[in-house]
Amino acid sequence: MMENKKTVEKEILTNYILHKADTRGHANHGWLESYHSFSFAGYQNPERMNFGVLRVLNDDSVSQGMGFGKHPHDNMEIISIPLEGDLEHQDSMGNTTVIRQGDIQVMSAGTGIFHSEYNKNKDQPVKFLQIWVYPNQKNVTPRYDQITLNLEDRHNKLQQILSPNQEDEGVWVYQDAWFHMGTFDLHFETSYSTKKKGNGIYAFVLKGKFKIDGVELGERDGLGISNLDSIAITADSANAEILLMEVPMKL
């Protein structure tokens, strides 16, 4: 049987790395419960240091009224995506803001910044993803941005929430990275092609079940795909939600 050369090439070259949800580092400090997809704080695993320039993916839950006191960052793009509740951010540039589900916040730490993050509510936890991406420029002037996205624009569609370009949809970062989020009906099929050749994709399932190029993923599973042009995505449950992070593979 003659196999299409392109198919054979894709099957040989595309690389998949699966990070099941329960293989993540886990820390429960009472007021904070956190799952770390990559090494962070007390979870240090040399085999889970990064996926390309994606360095940290934390799945955090912070109790009512609690949070992280002032702490420093530098030379990192820090992206926060609230999933439930309200997160209050205060930084050394003088910004005080609250972000909630549907918002996305980015901080280019650059030459250095201090910030605190607190659960604004006294009656419910706040759940959010905190994502760190290495910038493609060092020592930039620190900056902060946040936007509110229309949740309807991500129904059965991959909505762009982050890109390298100021004029594009979503927030912008100092990196050739594109993030998309989508909420899908059962059996909905879509695909995603990388916008920059050589970039990889780290997919993180927020809710439900998906199949990506045939790999089955459950809630909070992560799949890193590299050496690819595009991936095929199928939602295997109703209201399935996914975050796709396209990032350069070279640090």
């Binding site: 400090h29 009472g30 007021w31 090494s39 007390g42 992280f68 420093p72």
Partner: protein, 195 residues
């Protein structure tokens, strides 16, 4: 000489351990390699490790509400690094940060492996008790020095106690450790150089 020689020498200062005891000790240690500028502990978290620095340097620091940093410990090879929340139970989160400043190699205890050590080789309780007493004495002395000594005297005492540190750590870290501003430390160093 094995990878354990350094830590065994360090702990045997307080109690002359037998070979079998040191073997138990070594079997409970976890070896970790961590790149520089990694935050191992954040304020609010419960410290889950007691670490021995085999190679590298790290700092333990506190940040106040206005963002001012106070360094509590500058650690190099042969130092123990942890927070008191390691031995407290659930209710006592750390109020300090621990960060590596160079690429580091550690031996690490978890609360469970530490307890296991004391059960299997009880004489280690004595070693750690003495280590804690010494640490308390150093801390008490540092408290007194911070309050009572002049900035210049503090810096001179620091150079005498830790001669290699001035070359190992950035000046602003040393200033923070001594409780003085980086500008004032610069002035002190210039003055001492001219003597």
């Amino acid at each position: 000489m094995t990878v354990y020689s350094q830590i065994n020498k360090n702990i045997s200062r307080y109690v002359p351990f037998e070979k079998e005891e040191l073997e138990i000790f070594n079997s409970l240690l976890e070896h970790k390699k961590i790149v520089k500028k990694t935050t191992l502990l954040r304020a609010g978290e419960q410290c889950s490790f007691e670490a021995f620095l085999i190679k590298g340097s790290a700092r333990k620091y506190y940040i106040d509400g206005s963002g001012a940093e106070v360094i509590l410990q500058l650690a190099v090879e042969d130092a123990w690094l942890s927070d008191i929340s390691f031995s407290m139970y659930e209710d006592s989160p750390s109020n300090v940060f621990i960060e590596t400043l160079e690429d580091c190699e550690f031996f690490v205890f978890s609360p469970e492996s530490k307890e296991s050590l004391f059960k299997k080789a009880p004489r280690f309780e004595r070693a750690y008790r003495i280590l804690m007493e010494r640490h308390l004495a150093v801390t008490q002395n540092r408290l007194f020095e911070t309050i009572a000594k002049t900035a210049t005297d503090k810096y001179v005492a620091f150079l005498e106690q830790y001669p290699e540190y001035a070359n190992r750590f950035a000046q602003h870290y040393i200033a923070s450790y001594l409780g003085i501003s980086p500008e004032f430390l610069s002035k002190i160093r210039n003055k001492l150089a001219r003597l």
